[in-house]
């Protein structure tokens, strides 16, 4: 199986890891102007083809359903999840409270998303050129978002993030622990059709429409993180952890408390802040608590499974990363390979507000992203955890508790408002041929 890398847009199968990006949600004045703009943009689009020398900047284009309709796309092949206005869908399918959404993101006005990534002078220069191009085509930017990577691959809660990605068949950048767990400790790559249309998926389906071939469905979510609240929440839980379970290392109270903070954070997320998987290292040296927050492990070992840890004594069953990718956990074993997503999120900072622009790619919004978000993170039933929710997405619908199994177990309180959705959009990031056909008005 050979992937048509020159027809697949970049950043889907392999992350750019540029330090900076801007996302421009634009509205075309009419179909002709939209097509003209696409014709100008298509030659600039960065593909997944291997590069000899890393480009200084990279540009990509995705389209909303409104944009595809306007451009005259054959929308018969598009799923209901993309057709339905996201502001209508998000409350029922994602648990969003629209009162927390801000600005124009997800309000149905955008036709396309132009993403530009890079750094330094080259980035600034290309952004100027891009804005001029948009102006020339009478295209209005309704919502724009800047993102900037933090040092050490961290996100704003302080966790090293982004390396737990699926290993995709046909690509050459993958490591043990990222595909589908098989017997004798081996891992199999996930079929490319789970992420890019036109290739065999885990159900052996390959059929697709020309509009979708080499394209991927993209989820865009702006998630604000309340860093102060997370900090004080961990402090309170660490107090309680020290008083009940205890940190039995003969350490002084301050060190014990600092370690308990890191331990509780790690158990609830499933990774230590430096990126090490809790499943591989359920305990760390309390004296290193400070270092965990400031020194990331470059490429943390991902080669682990949960089957021997069914009750979650090492990594709690309800930990964030275990929910999002349960690997071989007993009750979800058969399904995990059908519910993987490729994440390409980046942190943002706007005045006092900080957060993550969550971007993920999948072949099915419903089966992949929405299942992970709604059934696995927002509820615990799939894992035998009743109404327990993911620590990051606690809401009024949850049990209000999180369990860290042990002797004795630690029952943490769920804290609402750690992460607040500020907007959401569903898009198609088409393959280059489909993009060209749309630009020519021939995609019918």
């Amino acid at each position: 199986m050979v992937l048509e890398l020159a027809d697949i847009q970049g950043n889907i199968l392999r992350g750019y890891s540029f330090p900076r990006a801007i996302h421009l949600f634009v509205a075309f004045p009419d179909a002709d102007a939209g097509r003209r703009l696409l014709r100008a943009l298509v030659p600039q689009v960065q593909t997944a083809a291997r590069w000899d020398e890393r480009p200084e900047t990279a540009l990509n284009v995705a389209l909303t359903y409104a944009g595809l309709r306007l451009l005259g796309a054959d929308d018969e092949c598009l799923p209901g999840a993309l057709r339905e206005p996201i502001a209508q869908r998000a409350p029922t399918r994602l648990g969003d409270d629209l009162r927390t959404w801000r600005g124009e993101l997800g309000r149905g006005k955008a036709h396309a998303l132009v993403l530009l990534a890079g750094d330094g002078w080259a980035f600034a220069q290309r952004l100027r050129t891009l804005r001029t191009l948009l102006d020339e085509h009478g295209v209005e930017v309704g919502f724009e978002q800047r993102t900037e990577a933090l040092a050490d691959q961290r996100e704003h809660f302080g966790f090293a993030d982004g390396f737990g990605q699926p290993a995709v068949e046909g690509t050459d950048h993958r490591r043990a622990g990222q595909g589908e767990p098989e017997e004798y400790g081996s891992w199999r790559d996930i079929k490319a059709g789970e992420f890019v249309h036109g290739y065999e998926d885990e159900d052996a389906q390959t059929e697709t429409a020309p509009l979708l071939r080499n394209g991927s469905f993209m989820v865009y979510r702006k998630l604000e993180q309340d860093v102060e609240r997370f900090r004080s929440y961990l402090d309170r839980e660490a107090d309680h952890y020290c008083a009940t379970v205890g940190v039995n290392h003969g350490t002084d109270p301050d060190t014990a408390h600092a370690y308990a903070r890191e331990l509780v954070a790690a158990k609830l997320i499933g990774r230590w802040r430096d990126g090490v998987a809790v499943e591989l290292a359920p305990e760390r040296d309390p004296a290193e608590a400070h270092a965990l927050r400031h020194e990331s492990v470059g490429e943390p070992d991902n080669d682990f499974r949960y089957a021997d840890d069914r009750d979650g004594r090492r990594c709690p069953v309800g930990a964030h990363v275990r929910r999002a990718n349960p690997r071989d956990s007993a009750r979800a074993t058969a399904q995990t390979r059908r519910h993987r997503i490729i994440r390409r999120g980046m942190p943002y900072e706007e005045g006092d507000a900080r957060g993550l622009v969550f971007i993920c790619f999948n072949a099915s919004f419903e089966r992949q992203f929405e299942t992970v978000q709604r059934l696995w993170c927002d509820d615990g039933n799939a894992f035998g955890l009743g109404r327990d929710q993911d620590v990051l997405f606690a809401s009024g619908a949850g049990s209000g508790k999180l369990t860290i199994p042990g002797e004795p177990p630690h029952f943490a309180r769920a804290e609402r408002g750690l992460v607040t959705t500020r907007g959401c959009e569903y898009l198609l990031m088409p393959g280059l041929r489909a993009l060209r056909a749309l630009a020519e008005g021939g995609e019918r």
Binding site: Q205, A243, G386
Partner: protein
């Protein structure tokens, strides 16, 4: 009706009961040009489900089937195609004591949905006959709690939630005897 006939041939004798769990499957052709209105009605149901008041139902859903799946492994080379979309209804339930059957109640509460199906009678007992005529056996279904009624499941969930609240409210209590007294006092209200 061709799809229903084919399905009936395939599922004949599969039965609709395993232990205490019962299942119901109804497949009805959607009326000409009624698909969009039906989808609108189903979208309204997402916020205010007419099925929520059916005491015997554990889980139920309506699904619009636009076309048969193709392109899967071992798929027939010349796959059958549907000439129109169908509405599938499936439910697992525990029969409730008292008057009436689930079909009778469904014909009443679900009329606004089945109204979009070809030939669904405007009113009266003929609606129940319509649903019965479009029923077929269920080959595969899931029942999480085959021996419990929905009411028992709801009671158990309420007790679990109460226990969770108790655990959180008393998590700082270090004295075993005090904790036990508090538990016995609160738990007396749960059972």
């Amino acid at each position: 009706m061709k799809l229903l006939d084919t399905l009936r041939q395939l599922t004949r004798g599969a039965g609709n009961q395993r232990w205490g769990a019962h299942s119901l499957l109804i497949l009805a052709p959607i009326g000409d040009g009624a698909r969009e209105d039906l989808l609108g009605e189903l979208a309204r149901c997402e916020h205010d489900s007419p099925l929520a008041g059916l005491a015997e139902v554990h889980f139920a859903r309506w699904v619009v089937i636009d076309q048969l799946k193709t392109g899967f492994a071992d798929a027939p080379k010349r796959p059958s195609r549907l000439d129109r979309p169908y509405l599938l209804f499936s439910a697992d339930y525990t029969p409730a004591p008292g008057d009436g059957t689930l079909l009778e109640r469904l014909a009443e509460v679900g009329a606004a949905v089945w109204n979009h199906c070809d030939g669904f009678p405007p009113d009266g007992p003929a609606r129940v006959d319509y649903l019965a005529a479009h029923r077929c056996d269920t080959t595969l279904y899931y029942a999480g709690y085959p021996d419990a009624t929905p009411a028992r499941v709801k009671t158990a969930v309420a007790r679990r939630d109460a226990l969770t609240r108790f655990v959180l409210d008393h998590r700082d209590e270090r004295d075993a005897a005090t904790l036990q007294r508090a538990y016995l006092k609160e738990a007396a209200r749960w059972f």
